[in-house]
Symmetry: C2
Subunit: 288 residues, 2 copies
């Protein structure tokens, strides 16, 4: 399946699902002065698609609504967006991802712009087998910053991802596969495109989003799996020492799923193969 | 003059100036998966245009090269870009601005994308007369962060400006015209789209870029004016108390010029009308 783009009028609250016309993904479909391209000023969500259906639609769209509220953009019509995602996902011919974008609009910012991209997903099985080495780095802000300065958009999934991409390049430079951010006072946050989940004995633990992370949709699904599997779950403040002494760790995201962390800053972390496989099966079986 | 867009092949080092074709600014000219729109992953510079010529071309293009280096994008051909800016500026029919953008490229990231936008500038005289009220806020990072974590792109002029735009909205909410950021340890930085310059007696002082700011092109021009006017100039660590006790302050940027700061966190700051006018005349008279 060739990747395709769908441009459509932004369905603000009360709107019906828009008509959809597919265009090649490389076709010129937006102005260079759209707020996305001019300022990274918009929000997005990336949905996994399995069996022609988008996953975790409610969690993604609720988070999108929260991001748009933080950006002071008009509320979306969530049923219309959900229907849009389902119609697009139905065109997928195999495992795929769907990226949904809402921006502050064209040069006149008269109304938000909206579009979606549908593309084939890569095979994630090798990542699950090998695991991923991470290095930690200071994100810069302290663990009380997000609550103290809400204008700063910490926790909004905006299009301003240049630093996220730079963090991944830095991780590669240090011989790792991904970066794991910590606050300036040493509280673990997230990776540039995924959430951290660790297992400590019989509990899955993830950083409290109030410390300055996105609330992960895949992490939430892992917690639902854990509850079904008899594990406890907790949101907590985790340090590098907590991770180093954990029984296992994963980076969780919609496209890659739950990827086991194999090393942290050069030291090995155990890979929990049984639970990694169980989680992968659970994530794959999800329908919204 | 209607705003126009120019898309052209990125002139990497050794390339000649590209041919230019103008398109309406709202025309769809890029893919939604260009790195600009997908991730805010690119760099930009905005040039003032007076009399059909771009201003501070060398300072802008050197800073663009530094931003691109921090982003690990290929070096540009600076003479080719300078010639491109001059050709575009020659089409302006009055005071204008020119925004030059380089991104990591289309969906395949095979080569950087490049474009420019030319548009009329607004009249900045009222802002110079009234001055602008600013409120301060914590940017989050400490004054040693930029040097300690160079991967974080502090000091690169990237397209990831969602937080900058949010800061301006927050300033408006607080009844001010602009925000002035400080580090978490209280060192003044810059505004979301301009540099801070203060006068203390016979000296112009600006925050040291190594603390975590862009090195302002208009601030540098103000320093050249100051040297001609018999004032001293200095890069320093400035605190909120330094600003409150300053003899005058300005927010300096290519499009607005040097705008006097009238209030800081609700307290009045003197407006230095004579020097504001002298600086405005100096900035306007510049040719590169």
């Amino acid at each position: 399946m060739a990747a395709v783009t769908f441009r459509f009028p932004y369905p603000a609250a009360g709107s019906a699902a828009p008509d959809l016309v597919a265009q090649p993904v490389d076709a010129p479909t937006i102005s260079v002065m759209d707020a996305a391209a001019e300022r990274g000023d918009g929000a997005f969500e990336t949905f996994g698609i399995v069996g022609g259906a988008p996953q975790a639609v409610r969690d993604h769209l609720e988070r999108l609504r929260e991001s748009l509220a933080m950006l002071e953009l008009p509320d979306p019509d969530l049923p219309a967006l959900a229907e849009t995602c389902r119609r697009i996902a139905a065109r997928a011919t195999g495992d795929a991802w769907l990226k949904l974008v809402v921006t502050r609009g064209g040069m006149d910012r008269a109304a938000p712009s909206a579009w979606a991209v549908l593309a084939d997903a890569a095979d994630t099985a090798p990542l699950r087998t090998d695991g991923i080495a991470v290095v930690t780095a200071d994100r810069g802000f302290a663990s009380d910053y997000a609550a103290r300065e809400p204008w700063a958009l910490i926790g909004a999934k905006t299009l301003s991802y240049a630093q996220n991409m730079a963090a991944i390049r830095e991780a590669h430079r240090r011989g790792a596969g991904d970066m794991l951010w910590a606050t300036s006072d040493g509280v673990l946050l997230e990776a540039p495109t995924s959430s951290l989940v660790v297992r400590r004995g019989s509990a899955l633990v993830t950083p409290d989003p109030r410390v300055g992370t996105l609330h992960g949709t895949t992490q939430r699904a892992m917690f639902r799996w854990a509850e079904g599997a008899g594990l406890e779950t907790a949101y907590a403040r985790l340090t590098r020492a907590d991770l180093a002494s954990a029984d296992a760790g994963w980076l969780a995201s919609s496209v890659r799923g739950a990827v086991p962390i194999s090393r942290v800053d050069g030291s090995a972390l155990p890979i929990d193969r049984a639970r990694t496989d169980e989680i992968a099966a659970f994530l794959r079986a999800r329908r919204d």
